[in-house]
């Protein structure tokens, strides 16, 4: 089951200067997968949140990850984005970027965006400012102090406003948005980061049916341009967007495949769908 990842010299990107090189040397996904998790184990006080998890995400793929509570879905995202360090295992982004060597901002700058379960936007700032803050650009201190929006960047923000349907609300405080709008704004912020891989944690929790449909459209529009990993509980939503589904159980992959196959799998029915 192990796929080939050329073991080149891992790139260590401790300081800001090295960040520029990431953008230039485009991510090497020549062997297919954009994300490699191999034998990742995380334990909290003896409880194994992830237990030898091995998972590959292909470039441009839209993958759904399901699993009962405590299956390790959120912990997996924490490991990928640098919030949690695994006890063992390897996590590579493309062929050469060792994510375990990087901290959260470096990982974000390398091209992994994350949407949290709870809508997490900057409530005191406007929709427009939220998008501007997320925008893919030089995020070091001095360039940020003197940053001015270029015409191209304005267009980029306008485009995302359009895509997320928030053009009308662009000057509203993000805190004043409805729950669904906040979720879209957060997806919009992800897009502004121009990530190569998006991790989306429960995007439709607490949404109405119409909002869910709108969100599904948004995510489907991203497929191909970005790799997207969606963690979700809402089975109907997963059915509506999923190409390939991975089922996590007790910190490891239980099965992987098409939604239809997965749904027929007796083990899956036992631990999850049947319940």
């Amino acid at each position: 089951m192990n796929r080939v990842r050329e073991t080149g010299t891992p790139k260590v990107l401790g300081d800001d200067a090295a960040l520029d090189t990431i953008e230039d040397t485009d991510l090497d996904t020549s062997h297919g997968p954009i994300l490699y998790l191999e034998d990742v184990t995380v334990s909290f006080d003896g409880f194994k949140a992830l237990n030898g998890l091995t998972l590959y995400i292909d470039d441009g793929e839209l993958r759904c990850i399901i699993g009962p509570n405590g299956a390790g879905k959120t912990t997996m995202m924490d490991v990928i984005t640098g919030k949690t360090r695994p006890d063992k295992g390897t996590v590579y982004f493309g062929q050469i970027i060792d994510l375990l060597q990087l901290d959260e901002p470096d990982i974000a700058q390398a091209g992994i965006g994350r949407k949290f379960q709870k809508p997490s936007v900057f409530e005191q700032q406007t929709v427009y400012e939220n998008l501007e803050l997320a925008m893919h650009t030089d995020k070091r201190v001095w360039p940020t102090l003197f940053a001015k929006l270029s015409g191209e960047q304005r267009d980029g923000i306008a485009e995302v406003l359009q895509l997320t349907g928030l053009t009308e609300q662009r000057n509203q405080r993000a805190g004043a948005l409805s729950h669904g709008e906040k979720q879209w704004l957060e997806i919009g912020m992800l897009l502004m980061q121009k990530p190569k891989l998006l991790l989306v944690d429960e995007p439709v929790a607490g949404m109405t049916r119409q909002e869910i449909e709108r969100t599904a459209e948004l995510l489907l529009a991203l497929e191909g341009k970005h790799s997207v990993v969606v963690v979700e509980h809402d089975m109907e939503f997963v059915r509506s967007i999923a190409r390939k589904v991975t089922v996590l159980h007790e910190g490891a992959v239980l099965t992987e495949g098409h939604m239809k196959e997965v749904q027929r799998n007796p083990k899956v029915i036992e631990i999850y769908l049947g319940a």
Binding site: F116, T126, A147
Partner: protein, 363 residues
């Protein structure tokens, strides 16, 4: 910046800077050009008092920048103010020269008194005005850099950070109390004679220092306004409201905090340097934790994250302090406490909140 806040901010800015400009022109005029017999005459005491308030206002700005916008509650910001003050005080000490009580051309009086034979190495250079002014900015900046680097890199936040800033200023106070430190022990540095050859007691010098203080307050205000209006300012607010989120969109939160903290410390140091020639003394009590707490209260009363609120708060509270401590010295601290409680309960956005509430009734 939020668009509606920018409008309110702009009006607040204009109002504050116009008042400041008017005061800067009128106060020295009323002091120097109006004869003492006239009822319009302002005494030199008043000029110096107002100048002192303005240096406090500059200090309050530095706190508002990190606390109001950055969410970093420093309860030890008085330390940076005092360090700037000591740098200025050391220069003024060296200017005394042979006019000291013991007439030693090099050593300040307290060193002669302690039987010291030569000037400690860290006093070298302070006889040069330019060097001393450099130190006014550099010393608080370097302390903030070292302290901030350790604290922010270890992700110390919230109340824990507040407590260690308080410990920092307390430790410095104890150190400066010691005679062996070479900063005059509990008497501090005083008996200053002149600055750049001008007699510090002269009305003209007092008025000039007043004007310079006002200019620095205006400059500091504009610098802070530019910073909070820049993208860096928005990142700092983002860190205040959702630190983890800011990391996940690619900002090195530690460096932003460190930058704003050091900048704020430098402003506090400059405020201290402006304060010392006006009050004529700097001693370790400036490091006292109580002072640092008080200045946080000025900002809370004036209103956080507005900048003008900090200026208003610093001036009003200190004016009240002048009046109260003259009339009923023993109840001042109770009055200050009561004021703080009342503002927290009824005006959570401080006095500046009143202004903003009137300007945007329907948010």
């Amino acid at each position: 910046m939020r668009w509606h806040e920018r409008i309110a901010g702009d009006r607040g800015d204009k109002l504050l800077l116009s008042v400041l400009a008017a005061v800067t022109v009128l106060v020295p005029l009323l002091n120097l050009a109006v004869p003492a017999t006239s009822s319009l005459h302002l005494s030199t005491y008043t000029v110096t008092l107002l100048g002192k308030y303005m240096s406090y206002a500059l200090l309050a700005l530095s706190v508002d920048l990190i606390w109001g916008y950055g969410g970093i509650l420093s309860l030890g910001h008085g330390a940076f103010f005092a360090l700037g003050g000591y740098a200025m005080g050391m220069h003024l000490m060296r200017q005394i020269g042979e006019r000291g009580v013991y007439g030693n051309p090099v050593l300040p009086d307290f060193m002669v008194f302690l039987n010291w034979q030569e000037l400690p190495w860290y006093w070298f250079g302070f006889d040069h005005f330019a060097f001393a002014m450099l130190m006014v900015a550099l010393l608080p900046g370097a302390l903030a850099l070292g302290f901030g680097w350790l604290a922010f890199r270890s992700r110390v936040t919230g109340v824990y950070l507040s407590i260690i800033t308080q410990a920092l200023t307390y430790a410095l106070m104890l150190a400066f109390f010691r005679n062996e430190m070479g900063f005059g022990g509990n008497n501090g540095l005083t008996d200053f004679k002149d600055i750049l050859g001008f007699n510090l007691q002269a009305d003209g010098t007092r008025a000039a220092i007043f004007i310079i203080t006002a200019l620095f307050l205006a400059l500091g205000y504009l610098a802070c306004r530019l910073i909070v209006g820049s993208k860096l300012g928005r990142v700092v607010v983002a860190i205040r409201d959702a630190e983890a989120r800011t990391r996940f969109i690619g900002y090195k939160v530690e460096w932003f905090k460190l930058w704003i903290f050091v900048f704020s410390a430098v402003i506090a140091g400059i405020a201290g340097a402006l304060y010392v020639p006006q009050v004529g003394i700097i001693n370790p009590s400036e490091f006292s934790p109580l002072n640092s707490l008080e200045l946080v209260i000025w900002v809370a009363i004036g209103g956080r994250a507005t900048l003008y609120g900090a200026v208003i708060g610093a001036i009003l509270v200190n004016y009240a302090k002048t009046v109260f401590t003259a009339a009923f010295p023993e109840i001042w601290l109770f009055a200050l406490g009561a004021l703080f409680v009342l503002v927290t309960l009824f005006l959570p956005e401080g006095l500046a909140g009143l202004l903003r509430r009137r300007e945007e009734p329907a948010t």
